[in-house]
């Protein structure tokens, strides 16, 4: 991160070493409150110049296409691109290692002190606030989807919500029923 490692002022893409890959994802991971993606973009495109903005967007589109946490997928996609299987493993380890250590310590502390009333009140306040942020995420996602004229997409979203939240059906079941319908609608309406 020092000035001596600043990228050269050319647009050529630099190929990272495994140790650099690991360090970069450690930094992304511990900076990544409220979404690691902006940090990953800044690090990879702007600071290190390992990818152009277009390549980054494409790798991220692939990560979103896959199930599971996007940033975890991204670490594997990015790491494998520059270092094959070892690169993927190193990027994943950098991303998940520090949070795993921190969260395990927090889990041990919670197991010991979780009954303290003050701690319970603090966590209840954080949960109430984090729930509000999740509602904001839903509202942001829903705006473009519902702004279009009334079509299939909002109906699918509402069906998924009702199935999981109200009926409390298992997620895999709801997914197996709704996803093919939704994909078929997307196919037909394009």
């Amino acid at each position: 991160m020092s000035a001596s490692t600043a990228p050269p002022p050319s647009s050529t893409v630099i190929r990272p070493k495994l140790s650099e890959l690991f360090r970069a994802f450690v930094i992304v991971s511990i900076s990544g409150f409220g979404g690691a993606l902006p940090w990953a973009r800044r690090m990879i495109v702007e600071q290190r110049r390992w990818m152009t903005a277009e390549e980054f967007n494409e790798a991220f589109a692939l990560s979103q296409f896959l199930p599971g946490p996007n940033v975890v997928n991204f670490s594997v996609v990015f790491g494998s691109r520059f270092g094959g299987a070892p690169g993927a493993a190193v990027a994943f380890a950098g991303l998940m290692g520090p949070p795993l250590i921190i969260v395990t310590i927090l889990a041990v502390l919670y197991a010991r002190f979780g009954d303290i009333e003050a701690l319970g009140r603090i966590l209840a306040g954080i949960t109430a606030a984090a729930t509000g942020l999740l509602i904001a995420v839903v509202a942001k996602m829903a705006t473009p989807l519902f702004r279009k004229r009334w079509d299939w997409a909002p109906l699918i979203a509402i069906a998924a919500f009702v199935g999981v939240a109200i009926m409390q059906w298992p997620l895999p079941l709801v997914f197996v029923v709704l996803a093919p319908v939704s994909v078929a609608c997307a196919w037909v309406t394009r």
Binding site: A36, L62, P67, A107, I156, A160, S182
Partner: protein, 175 residues
Amino acid sequence: MNDNPLISLAGYFALLSLFAVGGANAAIPEMHRIAVEVMHWMSDRQFADSFAISQVSPGPNIIIVTLIGYHVAGLAGAAVATAAMCGPTCVLAFLVARTWDRFKAARWRIAIQAGLVPVSLGLIAASAFVLARSADHNIYAAAITAMTAIVGFATRINPLWIFAVGGVLGLSGWL
């Protein structure tokens, strides 16, 4: 499923990992259903606490599975739950990344991606619903949720500030 909690953790989370379109936020209701209602691994409140801890920890939010795993079976449970939640999707990502160029422009690929957006929106909305039911036991907690929803929608404030305010309001004894 099985008497050994490690096998249950591995089975449930490995399956869930492949259906969690939209990431950790979309998987909350299923985790809650399994951990609280089906397996009785933890209480509603312990689940909500785990969610709060995962939110204020650095790194991907999927780290909540580490907390659930630890609660169920200690360090081994934490390791098994995390590996099960990340393993299948990482292998899939690795395999798909090598063939992506061949189908990235294919019509079926674009239809799948477009079709999954409303599904994951519905799932994330369900997460908010499940968490609100666990967290908003009184009018004050519901008010915090409503206020942070508006602030989160209208601004790009760092979530840590919102969590800090929520934590202080909680400590002050209103909730």
